[in-house]
Amino acid sequence: MIREFAIVWANSGQLLNGLLNTAGLAVLGMILSVLLGSLLAVLLMARSRPVSLSAQAFVDLFRCVPFLLLAYLVYFGLPSLGLNFDNWTSGLVAIVFYNTAYMAEILRGVWRGLPRDGIEAATAFGFQGWRLFLRIILPQVFLIAAPMMGNQMIQIIKDTAFLSIIAVPELTHVASGIQSQYYVPFAAFLAAVLLYWMICSLVEAGVFAVERLARERR
């Protein structure tokens, strides 16, 4: 047993690399899905029926596709359309598409429940369009949505493990590589589990901080 962990320790550089890839994919994926999800939420809330229905169709589509299938589609399928991404970028694209849909749905739900009062006051004071959205609506939505967005972030972190099957060198892929090379499954996978747990704890600390900001304002 000690020997197993010693082997894993000897390969800790690789694991760290995997960890960085996982964290990088998750953070970048999160940032992009929040940005795109916010835009998509605007479309979902659009007064124009054709616009909101198309946005809804997009959301429903991506919420129904298994993430694994989406990753396959992006990596193996898109080259048929002449779109060639490397493994890492394919993984990121899949993460972003998939989570943009979820993020938009979360933000739209909170937005709908926002009290009309403040928005009406903002309109009366001359806010409209993007300025109204960015300065008055979105900050309130983010404060309320923070816990749900945090959960989604954890979901993203876990979903990155699926990218192992398109050979993205993320944490699960690296752990799997170490175990098959040295046959140390327990130590290799346990190390990965602990590292996942570590980043999730960081996310939870972040959510907790935002929740405190939200509580001060309630």
Partner: protein, 263 residues
Amino acid sequence: MPDTSMPPAVAPPVLEIRGLTKSFGTNIVLDGVSMQVGKGQTVCLLGPSGSGKSTLLRCVNWLEPPDQGRILLSGKLMGFRDGGVVPMNGMELARARSRIGMVFQHFNLWPHLTVLQNLIEAPIHVQGRQRDEVIGEAEVLLDRVGLADKKNAFPAHLSGGQKQRVGIARALAMRPELLLFDEPTSALDPELVGEVVAVMKILAEEGSTMLVVTHEMGFAREAADEVVLLDLGRVVEIARPTEFFTKPKTERARQFLQRYVHA
């Protein structure tokens, strides 16, 4: 000696409403309302619940576009471009709205911003004024409404009376030509009404131009230059408060006073 035979050049009233109509479906809420508010005047808009008072205020800044009639702000048509035919687009409406300050029954403060941030938000991001100058002015305003020590608090931590004083200061921070108040004390506990009314009286005395929907008859009697009674979407009576409260001209006004003053 100035020549008194010629009438002085009269500045247009800050707010002039002409023949305003507004319906929701078949419900005619405003039915040909005409009235005005002169510079420095305080006009109190009275009327039973459902008579269309809030709708009237919301038509003034186009939160509800009227069906017919004209709104003129210092002689300038609201809601339409010069010429009066082409409706304003969103940007133009926003710019026009930013000349009017509004105070709401339920305060409608922005919960994600501190008190000071509530005051400076629109002057900076709508009116595009200098941040330092706006902050300086906002601090003076907060001092005047007695909330200098609350500038970094969030609205959620204030009492109703404090929230409404922030609401008033927020409206003043826009340097508005006209202030609209929609029942500013109706959502307050009775013991908190006084502190808000006191601030409004000072504003009236200092010559702010205000259109105030209220059930505070004491305020109307003491601070208003004119009282307008609205009923079923029509102006029933326009009078100076001394006359309105002692010898109303119409039967409807007498009934209203019976109910709201002598109750």
